[in-house]
């Protein structure tokens, strides 16, 4: 009996087993090929990630709403959705690393692949955990791997500084989270999210204590998604990290944060009570309002501080804070439809934000600069690249023919359904503000003349292919979003 359960559980985590094997093979490769500066490691990593993706797709075939390892992790459409995001984003980061100027001369490329595989395992575990301890462990796995990746380039002080800042902020945030979890455990006498929900239903809890504990846990999750007031690390870390890693943090780390936030609130606080009451069951303080207010602050601060930025990576960092704010609207409503809209937004955001970072990397490779002023007249030397950047930035703003518009509309509609008109008004005003700083980059590229000494831009075949593969979904899902929307809705089912 136990036997069969264990084997069944091992099958359910087969993508993570493939990723762990990739990490082990990469470490063995590091021993066999010491001081190799070639790109063999990246090929191994790409094969491993494709294997993990294949295992995830196979899991869709035998999908049941189920838990593995005696209720420790859940295997459901929700977790498989985030597994796909995890391994796809690592695949893209590996593809970007072939051409990255910052990672070209690094010695430990094998270790880089091993750490990235660990990141993938951490992320998919974050999306699947049903137990407070598993949640904490997987967040720490993801965090430690990101600290290492951020400071990966040798001899670059900016990168080391970013890594150190990330560690200090991260430790404080996870300290808060752990304290909140310990209080929650003290109240419910259980680490399992379902049993915590049962405690709330039996209403045998001190409300203020639950409120404090949940705020602490929210601080830990909010650190991962760069939610105000836990957003201070984002600009410095995004600026200091090598660009492929910045893209990973902006896309994958944030998605993982939303995964754990949604599952925690939905399973422990919502799912077992009647769907109309939302947070009312948990405490006298209205959670919907609390998260809605945080969401309003997050998008406003992100957008307004993005305006004066002159470094494109810092600008995209503040823009990613603002996008976390938009997605938090969905978290505050947290109905099935709202979760589906957050997942849709995350998928769309994946394509457009990753695309913007690939363009930033290509420009940085050629001009050795991340300054927005170096984008002046880019359309004259690199028309294709500028057009792609313009599409990604317009999509990030939410201009109609592109996918970003659909993401925003679906989230705003779910807020209107719930009657959160004030939040929708703030979000729409914020979108207008965001147009200013995104359009500033586009204006530099198209309306200003290039400096006389600008070098010709070489894009290269691989980056061009990566950009095209991200450009197609950004445009396609803006016109024909029904399949993505139905997939996101299907993925909103949790155990």
């Amino acid at each position: 009996m136990m036997h069969r359960d264990l084997i069944r559980s091992l099958v359910l985590i087969s993508p993570e087993i493939v990723a762990a094997l990739t990490a082990s093979v990469a470490l063995i490769g590091a021993m066999l090929m010491k001081r190799s500066r070639g790109n063999e490691a990246f090929y191994i990593g790409i094969i491993g990630m494709i294997g993990a993706l294949a295992a995830t797709v196979i899991l869709y075939e035998r999908l049941t709403l189920d838990t593995a390892f005696y209720g420790m992790i859940a295997v459901d459409p929700f977790s498989l959705f985030f597994r796909i995001i995890a391994y796809t984003s690592i695949l893209y980061v590996l593809l970007m690393s072939f051409n990255s100027r910052e990672l070209k001369d690094t010695e430990g490329k094998w270790e880089f692949v091993a750490i990235l595989s660990g990141f993938g395992i951490g992320m998919s575990m974050m999306a699947s955990s049903m137990n407070l301890l598993m949640i904490y462990l997987s967040i720490e796995l993801l965090s430690v791997m990101s600290y290492l990746l951020v400071s990966y380039t040798k001899g670059v002080r900016r990168s080391k500084e970013a890594g150190l800042k990330y560690i200090i902020y991260g430790s404080i945030a996870s300290g808060f989270m752990l304290y909140g979890m310990s209080i929650l455990y003290g109240i419910s006498h259980s680490l399992n999210l379902r049993e915590i929900a049962l405690t709330f239903i039996n209403s045998n809890y001190p409300p203020v204590t639950v409120y404090v504990a949940t705020l602490f846990i929210l601080a830990g999750f909010g650190f991962k998604i760069a939610m105000v007031p836990m957003h201070m690390w984002a600009p410095d870390v995004y600026e200091g990290a090598p660009t492929p890693i910045t893209a990973l943090l902006a896309v994958a780390s944030k998605a993982a944060g939303f995964a754990v936030l949604l599952r925690f609130f939905y399973t422990a606080y919502i799912s077992s009570v009647s769907m109309t009451q939302y947070y009312a069951q948990v405490s006298p303080i209205k959670w919907l309002t609390v998260i809605a207010i945080i969401s309003a602050f997050t998008m406003t601060i992100g957008n307004i501080v993005a305006i004066p930025q002159n470094n494109i990576k810092r600008l995209l960092a503040y823009s990613s804070i603002a996008h976390a704010g938009y997605m938090l609207i969905g978290v505050s409503i947290i109905s099935k439809a709202a979760i589906g809209s957050v997942l849709l937004y995350l998928a769309v955001y994946f394509f457009m934000n990753l695309g913007a970072f690939v363009v930033v990397m290509v420009v940085d490779n050629n001009l050795n600069s991340e300054d927005i002023n170096s984008y002046s007249g880019l359309s004259q030397v690199a028309p294709g690249l500028s057009a792609a950047m313009a599409v990604f930035l317009f999509s990030l703003t939410g201009i109609p023919p592109f996918a970003g518009f659909i993401g925003k509309v679906v989230i705003f509609l779910s807020a209107i359904d719930k009657g959160l008109y004030w939040l929708v008004i703030i979000a729409v005003l914020n979108t207008v503000v965001s147009l200013y700083y995104y359009a500033r980059v586009i204006k530099k590229m198209y309306l200003e003349t290039a400096p006389a000494d600008i070098q010709p831009i070489k894009v290269g075949i691989l980056p061009a292919l990566i950009i095209i593969s991200l450009l197609i979904p950004t445009i396609l899902f803006g016109i024909w979003w029904a399949p993505l929307q139905s997939f996101a809705h299907f993925s909103s089912f949790m155990y």
Partner: protein, 146 residues
């Protein structure tokens, strides 16, 4: 709920008062007689040499980390041994895989030379002063690494 927390508050208050009163009482009745031996740092009964404020060799932490990994392995082995009979051979293979993964990491650390205390003799001569201070002076370090 406030009643729940009142006991915490009482505990806190008694803790603070107890320490404060003891310190104050001791200050009032003890003889004030500072001398060199009394003012020196306590270091496990050894005479302290030099100041404790210097850079430690980062290899202390690497060794400590490797130790922790195998410590955790042992923690996993005990419950495994307890339920081994009821799970059977699959438990054996599970644990084998787990240990092999750890051994890959161990082989990596060994192979990369992170277990060698003195990494490079030429390097040692060049930065003799640094290395002596940070790593190989037994008197200085023995008292510091608890």
């Amino acid at each position: 709920m406030m009643i729940d927390f009142s006991s915490v508050f009482m505990f806190l208050a008694v803790g603070v008062i107890f320490v404060a009163v003891t310190m104050l009482l001791a200050r009032l009745i003890r003889p004030a007689d500072p001398n060199v031996v009394k003012m020196s740092n306590y270091e496990c009964g050894e005479d302290p040499i030099g100041s404790g404020w210097f850079t430690f060799n980062v290899r202390f932490y690497i060794i400590a980390l490797i130790f922790v990994i195998f410590d955790v392995e042992a923690v996993f082995l005990f419950p495994w041994a307890l339920v081994f009979k009821s799970i059977g051979w699959i438990a054996f293979w599970d644990m084998l895989v787990f240990i092999v993964i750890l051994l890959v990491g161990f082989a990596y650390v060994w192979n990369m030379g992170d277990l060698d205390w003195i990494k490079d003799l030429d390097n040692l001569k060049e930065n003799e002063e640094d290395t002596v201070i940070s790593g190989t002076m037994p008197n200085t370090t023995s008292g510091q690494v608890h």
